[in-house]
Structures are given as C-alpha cells and as structure tokens.
C-alpha cells in the first residue's frame, strides 16, 4: 500500500504574544483522509496553533506547507506573503462562533467563496451551494439570514461554506463550544459524515466522544508543546503522560 499523500505539514511552529510564548515549537503532519483531534486545556495554545495553520495568526517562526506550497516564517515575517491567500482558500475553516456574514442569506454565504475567490460562474456556484446546504440538512433554510437560524443551523451553514471551496483540508476551531447542548449533536453528525467520506480534518475540540470515535489521531497540547500524540484508542486506554491522564480524568 502506498502511503497517503501529505496534505498539510506544519514544522516547528512558534508563536509569542509579546513576551508570552504560547507555542513552543509544534510540528504536525496531516495526510489525506486524516482526522486529527487537537485536545488540551484552556491556554494550552490549541486554537492559536490551528489559527497559525491558515495564518489568521502569523506564527513567530516556523513553516507551513499545504499541498506543496510552503510558507516559511522568520521573526514573525512570512517569506512569501502572496501564498497566504492561496493557502487559505485551500483550507476550509469553521469557527467557534460560526462567523457567518450576517447580511447575506445562508445560500449567499455558501456561494460567496466560490464566486468571489474562485471566480466560478454564479449559476454553477448556486447549484453547488444548494446541494451542499441540502447535504447538511438545510434545504428549507437556504434563503434565511443567519439571525433567523439557530446556532446549530448556523454552524452547518458554516460547514457548507467551507466545503464549497472544495478544500484540501478543513480546520475546525471548537465548532460545538458555542452551541446549546441539544444542538451539539446535529453538528457532530455532519462532521462525522465528513470524516466518513474521507475528508482531511483538523479539529480543536472538547468533545471527547468525537476525538475517541471519529478521529484517526489525537494530539494533546500542554503549555505550548505536544505532550502526547497517537491513535485515540491507545492514548485513551493508556495515557503515557501524567498531564494527559489528569486531563481525561477531568473531562470524563
């Protein structure tokens, strides 16, 4: 069997805010079809790391490679800034607070990227957006504005919006943390189906169930470093580090 190709590679990512070093050299590789869950207690740097991957946060140093296109960062300065927009368009992102464009309908939100960034013709983008919204179970909500949708529905629109760009991988930044408990399930279900169809996903989450059952790899961050990393079954069965053991005992 050939090794699946590498989609995304982050090497030695450092990030400091002023004197505070939040990320102390993190490397991560996502191959095609990987579903990587990033766990960690608050302040461990997991969201910051995720945001460094698509340069919403500019790392202090390190290298990010997406589909062969690499951006090297030294002293907080990316070496080839022009690639940033390109890398972003190849990585979908789903935010904790959904971040939908509130002045556009669900359908317009999903069409926006393909039409404005990839310059797809309107009709084509519309067909695709309709299919995607159907896929996340919102065919009857397409013409509603975000203010008319529940949190779970908004997050599903946000997922459809990310999918519309046909990304190489999707980054999820605590996608269920802002949701009412009864709405978490509908979003997780969509994410699960994405994993099942072989999407490459990197998920910062507090949902232990998802990390355990859906992901192919779990990364545990502690104080800006990877404390533990491996397949979920092994990691949850025999935690190797004390910090991870304490972490899972607390969230159980």
């Amino acid at each position: 069997m050939t090794k699946p190709e590498t989609i995304l590679k982050a090497e030695d990512i450092h990030k400091s805010f002023g004197r505070l070093e939040v990320l102390k050299g993190i490397s991560l590789e996502a191959r095609n079809h990987d579903v990587i869950s990033i766990l960690g207690s608050s302040g461990s740097g997991k969201s910051t790391f995720l945001r460094c991957l698509n340069f919403l946060e500019i790392p202090t140093s390190g290298k990010v490679t997406v589909h062969g296109e690499e951006i090297l960062v030294k002293n907080g300065k990316p070496q080839n800034v022009r690639h940033i927009e390109d890398i972003r368009s190849r990585l979908g992102m789903v935010f904790q607070q959904f971040n939908l464009w509130t002045h556009r309908t669900a359908l317009e939100n999903v069409m926006e990227g393909p039409v404005q960034v990839k310059r797809e013709p309107n009709a084509e983008a519309r067909d695709k957006a309709e299919a995607l919204l159907k896929r996340v179970g919102l065919e009857d909500r397409m013409h509603m504005y975000p203010s008319q949708l529940s949190g779970g529905q908004q997050q599903r629109v946000a997922i459809a919006r990310a999918l519309a760009m046909e990304p190489d991988a999707i980054l999820f930044d605590e996608p269920t943390s802002a949701l009412d408990p009864e709405l978490v399930g509908e979003v997780l279900k969509v994410m699960q189906s994405l994993a099942a169809e072989g999407r490459t996903m990197i998920v910062v989450t507090h949902e232990m169930g998802f990390a355990r059952e859906v992901s192919s790899e779990v990364v545990f961050l502690h104080e800006g470093r990877i404390a533990e990393q491996g397949p979920p079954d092994e990691m949850f069965a025999n935690p190797k580090t004390e910090v991870f053991e304490r972490f899972i005992s607390k969230v159980k």
Partner: protein
C-alpha cells in the same frame, strides 16, 4: 396680499429656488459621499502621522461655523484672484454657486468621513476573519464585508447629515445663490409680506419629509437581515424599530 396670493404669484420662483436647494444639497452630499469612504479608511488604518492632515481638516471643519467656511471660500478666493487667474481657477471661484458647493462638499466630507469611520470600526471582526479564512484579498474584504456593514451601521447617521446639509444650504443665499432662502428673501424685499417665509419653511419641511421617507425605505431594505421574521428565535429579535 394674503398668503395664498403670494404663493400664486411667486410659486415659479420658489420652485426655482427649491430646485437650486436640491441641486446644492444633492451634489454636495454626492461629492462628499464619493470622497469619504477613502478618507474614512485612512482614518481607520493609516499610521497616526499619515492621518495628521486629515484630522486637522476634520477638526477645522467641525470646529468652525459653516458660514465662516463659506465666506472663507467666497471672499477669500477674491483676495487671491491674480493667483487663481494665473492657474485658470478664477472662472470656478467667480461663480457663487461653485463656492457654495465647494464649501458644502468640504463640510459634508468631514462629517461623512467621521460617520463612516465609526461604521467601519464597528464591523464585526469575526466576519472579516471569515472572509480572510476563505482566501479573500484585502480589497475584496473591503468591498464584500467591511463597507456593506459599515454603510448599514452608518446609514441613519448619514441620512441625518444630509438633512443638516440641506438646511445649511440656506446659507448659500448669503453669497447670492438663489436657493429657496435666496428666492424668499428676494420676494420679501418686494412684497414685505412675511408669509413668504412660511411658504419657504413649508418647502424645507416637504423636502426633509420626502427625504426621510426615501432614506428609511432604503434602510429597511439594507437591514432585511435584521428585520426578517426569525423563525426559530422569534422572541430573540433585539431590534424592533430602527431609529432614523
């Protein structure tokens, strides 16, 4: 003469004045509307040093009476006539309409810039981030996210500014522009009948009312996303009626 007779006798002049008022206001607001987005962006994004001239301009306009600004341009340009003639600008400044328009455009630009700056600064950061994350360029983010939001936020205040400008345009009559006020003074000096001022007030009132109606119509369209009936969260609609 009674007020009705005054109106019958002089309505063509008053209408003429109303058209002039509309022309001054519309052109002044339009010029300001074209220039202010760029200036507002500078106010939000540029380095403090680069903003200094702009801030000086804004505080000068806001800190001095519009009448003084008008006189400065109208009478001030006369002082520099030889220089202006040399640059071929005298034909422009010779016309009081141009002077008034310039004064109003400069004045409204300062106000609109500040209003729009406030709008730009209140654009939800999250939505800008979402636009970045999808790979939009800076200019695209401005066009697709920042300005659409900024204008929606600034809309009522911008409407107010246009109304203030419309009323301030009566000052143009002082430099011999025949707007509503100019025509009214002309008619009064012939008839010594104060009722013509009532008609003038009514004209201003009608213009304002029509404008408010139009502006609100546009506002309703722009804020559909807020007023749209919220199915799942109907009770959680925070905005019932907008303040114009």
């Amino acid at each position: 003469m009674n007020p009705i007779e005054i109106l019958f006798e002089y309505w063509p002049r008053l209408l003429d004045g109303a058209l002039m008022t509309l022309k001054l206001t519309f052109l002044g607001a339009l010029i300001a509307g074209l220039v202010s987005p760029g200036l507002a962006l500078i106010r939000v994004q540029a380095a403090p040093m680069a903003q200094a001239p702009l801030r000086l301009y804004v505080s000068f306009i806001r800190g001095t009476p519009i009448l003084a600004q008008l006189f400065l341009i109208f009478y001030g340009s006369g002082q520099f006539r030889p220089a202006l003639e040399e640059w071929g600008l005298w034909t422009f400044f010779r016309d009081p309409f141009n002077c008034a328009l310039l004064a109003f455009a400069l004045n409204s630009t300062a106000y609109q810039t500040e209003i729009l700056r406030g709008g730009i600064m209140s654009v939800p950061q999250r939505e800008i981030e979402a636009a970045k994350a999808i790979g939009m360029s800076r200019s695209k983010i401005l066009r697709r996210v920042v300005f659409p939001h900024a204008y929606r936020i600034a809309w009522p205040a911008l409407g107010n500014e246009v109304i203030l400008l419309m009323k301030a345009s009566a000052l143009a009559s002082v430099v011999t522009v025949f707007d509503v006020m100019g025509r009214t003074r002309q008619i009064f000096s012939r008839t010594f009948d104060f009722s013509v001022y009532l008609w003038a007030a009514l004209i201003y009132l009608c213009i304002t009312a029509a404008f408010v109606l139009l502006w609100r119509q546009a506002e309703r369209r722009l804020s559909r996303h807020i007023h749209a009936p919220g199915t799942p969260r109907a009770s959680a609609q925070p905005f019932k009626e907008s303040q114009a």
